[in-house]
Amino acid sequence: MSTLSLTSAFVLLFKRDLTLAYRRRAELVNPLLFFVLVTAMFPLGIGNDPVLIEKVGPGVVWVAALLSALLSLDAMFRSDYEDGALEQFMLSAHPVSILVLAKVLAHWMVTGLPLFIAAPLLAMMLHIPDEAIPTLMLTLILGTPVLSLIGSVGVALTVGLRRGGVLLSLLVLPLFVPVLIFATDAVHTASVGIPTTAQISILAAMLVGSLVLAPPATAASLRISLS
């Protein structure tokens, strides 16, 4: 099998998922809207205390990003499972883990990337110091793909269940916690002017690790869900 046809299958599937997302724009806005609303509501709930808001800011942004990722995860394989397209992927002449990677990447592009773009605005709203905003952005661009990748394994395991929502949260939230801890710690550290190389390196390591390990696990889980 040529690498060329594998690459074209990857690109084809990636484009397919972006096209599908674009044709259902209304659902696309949901995770972003959730993210923006939660972070916007927080200062209203806490009251007029800039120091406190500054302290909880990074945590709020990251918890909102995490929950918004969780909210959008279920859609990753659901419709493909229901209309039988997933069976066709499993019977493809290409390695399923590569196809899974294309789908996860497309999913991240439409759910994770918008959060990254909206983050600086929300950071300013939450009084996160200017010098910490690049770090926040960096943690988001490294961390949100990890959420999508880890989430894909959980979704693949629960897609065959009629009400897999609660189970999905139980499965993946504990695995999201390390990302949350290192990401928020990095932003806190940056806001007091200390270098954040350690946290960023660990987040990057998590990304590389999940990039390598999650797709085969997702492919195997999908196989279990379908059989």
Binding site: L20, A93, S227
Partner: protein
């Protein structure tokens, strides 16, 4: 790559040995063996719930049999993985295409998931199943029968040798059924193979050799 060369040179063979399928503690079938050679079609019959769909899913490798072996040219299909899957096309209960995409987009993906750009052109495939002129209509706006036709068009755009068909004639009109039978016949006469279930009496020409298995009379 030498193995694929010999594959095409020698006649392909698809066989199942001593398959057992258990679902919900009920034995659906056991000790089921058969082989399918180029030009032959396996036709599965049996009552509802006799395990026809389960067998087809086992044959294409989506589902694991409780025991037994399925071999493509003498090699276990689960060991072959993608090397086996490039030779098959599966048409399940569900059509397997996206309602939000047009027929042409759906076929392009089906072709991309196959091994390479082989098979006939996308437009030609649509024309062969009687969907000429529907290239750019969203698939969700098409009737159930038309959607089934699109699913059958998917079989034509890769050069899969073994077609695994689960009730391919669902929602097709009588003319459509006859037309699709001609398409399946043409595939078999080109040296293809098929494994199918149907409630409809298969009206293939006499020279097509059918392997009939009735799952509820075993």
């Amino acid at each position: 790559m030498t193995s694929t060369l010999t594959d095409t040179a020698s006649a392909d063979c698809f066989e199942a040995k001593a398959l057992v399928c258990i679902r919900d503690d009920r034995i659906l079938f056991e000790d089921l063996s058969f082989s399918v050679n180029p030009g032959q079609a396996l036709v599965l019959e049996g009552r509802n719930g006799s395990g026809k769909t389960s067998l087809l899913r086992i044959l294409c490798g989506i589902r694991l049999p409780e025991s037994g072996e399925i071999a493509w040219n003498g090699k276990d299909i689960f060991k072959l993985g993608p090397e086996f899957r490039e030779h098959i096309a599966y048409l399940g209960h569900k059509d397997g295409h996206k309602p939000d995409l047009t027929p042409l987009e759906n076929l392009r993906i089906a072709q991309g998931l196959g091994k390479a750009k082989t098979g006939i052109g996308l437009e030609e495939a649509l024309e062969q199943v009687g969907l000429y002129g529907f290239e750019d209509v969203p698939t969700r706006n098409m009737s159930a029968g038309q959607q089934r036709r699109l699913a059958i068009a998917r079989l034509l755009v890769t050069d899969a040798k073994l077609w695994i068909l689960d009730e391919p004639f669902t929602s097709l009109d009588r003319m459509g059924i006859e037309h699709m039978e001609r398409l399946f016949e043409a595939h078999l006469q080109r040296g293809g193979m098929a494994a199918m279930t149907t409630h409809h009496r298969v009206g293939f020409r006499d020279e097509i050799k059918l392997v009939r298995i009735n799952l509820s009379e075993r």
